[in-house]
Symmetry: D2
Subunit: 293 residues, 4 copies
């Protein structure tokens, strides 16, 4: 397929490469063009504007850092809403709030355009290896049309339903379950430390048994090693994810008390100057709250 | 080795069978003797009192339901403290609070006896299959002496340290991390449901990716199926576990905010009449709090 | 003094009347002019636009329902930012978030205008009786200049400092302390009810002793009478206040765990269909969570 | 009336003096007799044992520090249960858990004795001044019989009902509402401080308006002055009160999320070495969690 791609940071590039490898024709637009030289060398066609990306093929991806960037790209003069042709599909990857997804769904519909939400599950290196999942939500026809793209990008596509907000909610909730798992793990480390247990021992108990999965292995390891300076996702961005979850819950009447705990620990971590550390630093913040750090 | 065994409910029997299969000589005492007929048929020697169990071999296991039962067996006339010979080892399996373990450690020490805490990780059927883990804490010499027993019972022994309370804390913290994971999962199900997502879809997303482990697969499945009537662990016993964790935290200055959330959901479940359901029923209680049930 | 006034709902009218009674010259602009007939009869001069209100005197009040309304009035074409003369003072009453107040402070400053935040403490009827307080924050010179206005409106002005956001934060925090007090009271009612205590008895104990103040007397009474249908402030607006507090805390690194509890109870009340009831309905929501309703 | 009195610490002495002043005949037993010399000088008759106190009059007060002390006095050889004559009334003041009160109610009833719970509202100096309240719960006949005693001790008696546990629950819930109010106030101080507001200003706003009552004035003042070293009630005892509330809630299916927050702040304060400070120190602990201390 011929598709445009807007937003080629680490995640966007990993996705675009997968598309190129599957012989799709990718027109790439990035605000800072020098960053996509390698991608162009790999076969992507460099584009000069959002408008060009919108007209390049039947669909255009966006993979943007946050809701503000998405709103800007969509709503500004010459942006997506203005530039996407009637019937054009906007495939919105990235982790976004349900509010902007709902707003964008309506705005596209008004113009005869279609929104598909397709947030990625997995970090850029997982995407690059073809092992990532993708959650997709949007009108059934558009999902069918875009199927080859999702097959190219990831190992498995999870169908959320016809409402793009459903896909956004799943992504938010998956991050939520992760953040809460990390927070609970951090509490468990503080608790056992106070009873003289080395973190590595508690880590072994958890990950050998009930929690033999990457959520606990990856983040538990960071907590054991206290390697918070090697940043996967920054605490301030974890806080953004927590806010997305709590806002999503508030809008539909779902109290998320575990989410509050998760958010508070990140708020505290930021207050103590750890906002730019890996978000597993919530275990350090928990240790602080326990008089251990 | 020759050992006594007190408390032969489902878990105790599974452990005793493992010991018998490994050719250890097991003297078994249960308050209601008729329940251990099968075990006796399998080679265990039936005993008539705690006193006999204490004198049967170099060590005596207890596998009791809760702290009250343990206190009773230990402290009553003719109980463990009175009956265990000098140098005798009390191997205390079961999930117990740090307070009683600390108290018992001191009480045994006063009498020249030794306490080893050895809580099991895994349900009775996992123990029966030889796949369970065991956490062990106690004086190094006693741990070495009992090593053949732990090798017989489980797949892996995790050494917590020389203080039995460390082993108790690990077991409590592992349950804690599980309870909090279940609570967060339940919140995630309510959140995604309100955005039109079928629980089975969110379950797939979680367990295909970050949470591809038994904690999420087993309990997430119960939540998807709402099969709370088929009880693994009752909600009221989950609540007991939550209390063990919060008490353990309070004693050493560790706030456990995720644990509060876990406990509150179970308190609510009990208030709504679900105390005898499987403790995964906290997902139903979360649904109630979200106006979904 | 000669002043403009924008936003004459119940609270705005009460304030404007106080200003008129103190012989200030008030030019009033309301989006729906018919609503201010009585005020005009009382001496206010009706104005046809925001622009006219901005040019009417040395200062212009806004008393608007929420941040969206304030943003609209300030930023739209012909709005406050465009229309207020250099040196003009915008006195922003109403309960607003710290983000918009900070943004507005900067936007006014860029244009040589001055922002004073002056949120009211007390309901419209208290303002009407002259017994309300007002929190004021802004450049010292502007505060001095506006002093006669604050003296006319309220019984007491609390000086928050030279940053308007300080005044906004005080108002938000005062609401926060109130919301948390109400939530705790609601929990106390559920707890005592389960031990057979009539709510009126627990109410007497509280308000006769430590809590002999309007926060507990007014809202505790509503809880005892379950008169949630007679609405002072709607639960959905209480939820807005909770969000203002949590956002304000998140921005500066202050976890507000009591605020989470408050917010969750309101989220739950809305989920159960009580969003348009008085926000004291959180006691009913607590009762629900306790299996009492 | 002729009555015995067991437990003459600061609170017990204040109560006994009120009884003496009202011309009741008080027989006093304290474990360390030298502490009641002044009371004896004021007219109390010194007694040598619990047994003597139980036989002195128609009723015997206990005013003990905690549940352990009460259990000891009641259950030991020569204790209350053994010594109180049939028909004798045990008036149990002090703040006790619902579990021990229920147990004691049953134990007394078995022996034909009567339990009245009569926890005091107010510190010893308030009791001394005759301004304290008392909550009373027990069989109606016993309450009538003891009325002159309650009239002598306090300004007002609140009738909880015929179950002594009701009175205990009210006392626990009143402390709970106080603890939660203090916690929320502490959060409010941290929030406003981060926006440049002096604590004294926020204190004035609160206590001039909605929170013009002793709970906020007394404890808010301690927080403003940071005078935590001058101890009214120690943080560790506040923690005991929080535990009483959470246990009471757990027993009857009432989640108390505000109580969790209150408890966690005290747990943290203890972890940071402030367990022997005034329990208002939870505001300092909140400041710590906010990176302010």
């Amino acid at each position: 397929m011929k598709i445009g791609f807007i937003g080629l940071g680490r995640m966007g590039q990993a996705m675009a490469r997968r598309l190129l490898e599957a012989k799709h024709d990718v027109g790439a637009y990035n605000r800072t063009p020098e960053k996509i030289k390698d991608l162009v060398a790999a076969g992507a066609k460099p584009l000069g504007s959002i408008e060009q990306a919108c007209g390049y093929g039947a669909a255009v991806f966006t993979m943007l850092a946050d809701d503000a960037a998405l709103a800007d790209v969509a709503e500004k003069k010459g942006g997506l809403l203005e530039s996407l042709p009637k019937g054009g599909i906007h495939i919105c990857s990235g982790t976004h709030g349900v509010t902007i997804i709902k707003k964008l769904t309506a705005a596209h519909a008004e113009r005869g355009q279609v929104l598909v939400a397709a947030p990625m599950l997995g970090r850029p290196e997982v995407v690059a290896s073809g092992q990532a999942g993708v959650v997709i939500g949007g009108p059934p026809g558009a999902l069918v049309q875009c199927k080859p793209l999702f097959e190219a990008i990831g190992r498995r596509a999870f169908e959320a339903g016809s409402d793009p907000a459903s896909a956004a909610a799943i992504k938010i909730a998956n991050n939520f379950v992760l953040g809460c798992a990390m927070e609970a793990m951090g509490e468990g480390f503080s608790l056992t430390r106070k009873y003289g247990v080395a973190p590595s021992v508690f880590y072994e108990v958890m990950t050998d048994g009930l929690f033999n999965c990457s959520a606990y292995k990856i983040y538990g390891k960071i907590m054991v090693d206290e390697s918070y300076a090697k940043v996967g996702q920054m605490a301030v961005l974890g806080l953004k994810d927590a806010d997305l979850a709590l806002v999503a819950g508030g809008l539909v009447g779902v109290p998320l008390p575990s989410g509050n705990v998760w958010r508070d620990r990140l708020v505290g971590a930021v207050a103590h100057g750890d906002g730019d550390k890996d978000w597993a630093v919530m275990a350090l913040e928990q240790a602080r709250a326990s008089g251990l750090a």
